[in-house]
Symmetry: C2
């Protein structure tokens, strides 16, 4: 069977194991290595409170070459002051020691509970064990994907294989937790590997674009966590003619990367805590792209819309209410709304529609809500998921 | 027993009855009258999509004298185009005809489902019956309070009696639905009566201030509905020395009005759909008052905080996560958080605390979350309620 994990691209090794952060015994330490050194780029949370891991990772990612990424799950190492920062530094130092590289060649991420100190001795012991286990097998890649999980119900991975200048190129990724919203957990982590030969600035540009249209279009609870991190490493071992400009080769790479991120984003939203279905919100007729994005987010984040989707209810009044309070320019006399292909509201007036058919649309695993603001020509979109009683149970019954 | 309804102040009559908008047979038409004519002021939703009632009411409230307020519940008359506007005009015309005044002396409000046309014949017939029933009794006032309800579980009323220049002055109010968030319902309506003699500009000023610190500080789902309306009518029959400047008499009136609105706001949030407890969020140490207000709202609207309160969980990490993503200025090294009197986080570092005691605080019917941003001297506050599985059930299982 083909290797569809982060070890699929040439030059990558991985490992995952239980070191003792999680009481459940589940995997909680993940290690990714690129012995030949990789070009790296990353995107981080915009939350003003960030984990110690994010603070350290932001510095290290400026290094010319990255050889390893170390990740722990079960503890976010956030709101932990100076001791937290020292622990993140220790994690990088231990990884560097094991792989015989410099600490600044190690990237780091943490995810889990906020405000508790890391059991650092267990983690450094785990890093030593993980380094000994590093392997290019698909089993090792899957172990990595499992070790970054928190309340995720399954590992989420995606891969794309394509050709550039006659050479086979692979991009693979693993993400955790669009559950966002795990009990007290800090949330999205995304790790992507590729063997494409590409310059660092173009790698960063392609990552930013891909994340902007995928992970950054997801909204489960409307808030970015303190730990959100997306990292891409490029080993350059595919043998392709290096991508050094925004030529057709770059476009092929960027498109494949966008596909990988889009695939991961869909898996994340469908695995969101308590989520039973997802929806795409398309807003057109906006005065500006920013207005369109804001309106789309307002709809996807509106608890009443999320509840209606949960109940399979074609309740378009709630969609219009969300749009009206989003603070965007709109023309009430030109406003329109579609559920899937069914027009339910047009020119500010309700349209007769088959409620049973509309309910069927809303009850699908995935449907599209389209809103026309009647105020311009800009458009944008985002993805949301339903809000279920199960979500509340998960997040209320858990106790710190 | 004292009359504690909107008919308590001198000069007001009320009525409430079932005219046929609601299938349940519950009251759905409310009428308030001030035969001698009242000075009036109002505050409306900032949603860009507003009901036909709001459009008409905004015009009529500019009249020098208001003699009646007509309200229907069960149908918001929103997103109903020209026909909806014509129906709102008809409701005022019928009320004016019955009470023998001009249509512009009638204020109007609607609340209920969005996107359906009013059964206007049933409503005009109901107005005629309500006009015949108008009474100054406390029974009539209670009927009014019940007829404006949608998914509210009980009528919500408040009254204050005080003296101005030796004359007894009364302020009374009735509100509906901080359930916000009724199934497809447009939400907050607030009607206040007083017999104080006061100029219109000062009446408007006092209302704006009182609503700003009460109803506008509530957040159940973070969105203003399409129909939100607060109206105050002053008959001037109390016999007090008229309030014509911002003198101590004005302050006494404004304080009493603020108390009435605060009382109504508390009742609303505790009667929110599925809500089991409420909380106050106080944000201090902000760079600006706007930052403080924004951070407070971000905390009160954050689903994970609302779920934690539902579960009685002192989960302060979620509070800090919400603050960090609110887009306000903050100093991570000076950030602090208190649950009731218990400091759980200070100077960016977690503090040891008794988890059982903290859980007791969060499990109260009402508690205060205090956050210090460490970025300045401004402060602000707001009220929120918990998010329960029951809320989701109410809003998912309802079908349009």
């Amino acid at each position: 069977m083909a290797n569809n994990t982060v070890t699929a691209p040439k030059g990558f090794l991985a490992a995952g194991l239980h070191c003792g952060v999680k009481k459940s015994g589940k995997f909680d330490l993940a290690l990714l290595a690129c012995p030949t050194g990789a070009k790296a780029a990353a995107v981080f949370t915009t939350n003003k409170v960030v984990s110690a891991a994010v603070q350290v990772c932001k510095k290290h990612v400026k290094s010319a070459s990255i050889s390893a990424v170390v990740v722990n799950s079960g503890n976010a190492n956030t709101c932990t002051g100076k001791r937290g920062l020292a622990n993140a530094v220790k994690m990088c130092a231990e990884t560097a020691k094991q792989i015989e590289i410099g600490p600044h060649n190690v990237l780091i991420a943490s995810t889990g509970i906020i405000g508790k100190h890391l059991p650092i001795k267990k983690i450094t012991a785990g890093i030593s064990k993980a380094a000994a286990k590093l392997s290019a097998s698909s089993k090792a890649g899957l172990d990595f994907a499992e070790a970054i999980m928190t309340t995720d119900t399954k590992p989420k991975q995606a891969v794309r294989r394509f050709e550039i200048s006659g050479a086979k190129v692979t991009i693979a990724g693993a993400v955790k937790g669009a559950g966002m919203i795990a009990p007290n957990m800090a949330t999205t982590l995304c790790f992507i590997t590729t063997d494409a030969a590409i310059t660092q600035p173009l790698l960063a540009k392609a990552l930013k674009a891909a994340i902007g249209n995928s992970l950054n279009r997801l909204t489960v609870d409307g808030h970015q966590s303190t730990n959100d991190t997306a990292i891409i490493l490029a080993s350059g071992l595919a043998g392709n003619r290096p991508i050094v400009s925004q030529c057709p080769r770059y476009k092929r790479f960027a498109n494949a990367l966008a596909e990988v991120c889009g695939d991961l984003a869909r898996q994340m939203v469908l695995d969101a805590e308590g989520a039973t279905r997802m929806f795409k919100v398309v807003v057109k007729g906006a005065a500006t792209k920013a207005d369109a994005a804001r309106a789309a987010r307002a709809i996807a984040d509106y608890p009443l819309v999320k509840c209606a989707v949960n109940g399979g209810d074609p309740n378009w009044g709630r969609i219009i209410c969300a749009v009206g309070s989003a603070g965007v320019k709109l023309n009430p006399n030109k406003l329109a709304c579609k559920l899937g292909p069914i027009t339910v509201f047009k020119n500010g007036t309700p349209r007769k529609f088959d409620a049973k058919k509309a309910s069927k649309v809303v009850s699908q695993t995935e449907h599209t809500i389209t809103v026309d603001l009647g105020a311009g020509k800009a458009s944008d979109f985002c993805y949301g998921c339903d809000l279920s009683a199960e979500y509340v149970r998960i997040n209320a019954d858990y106790h710190t």
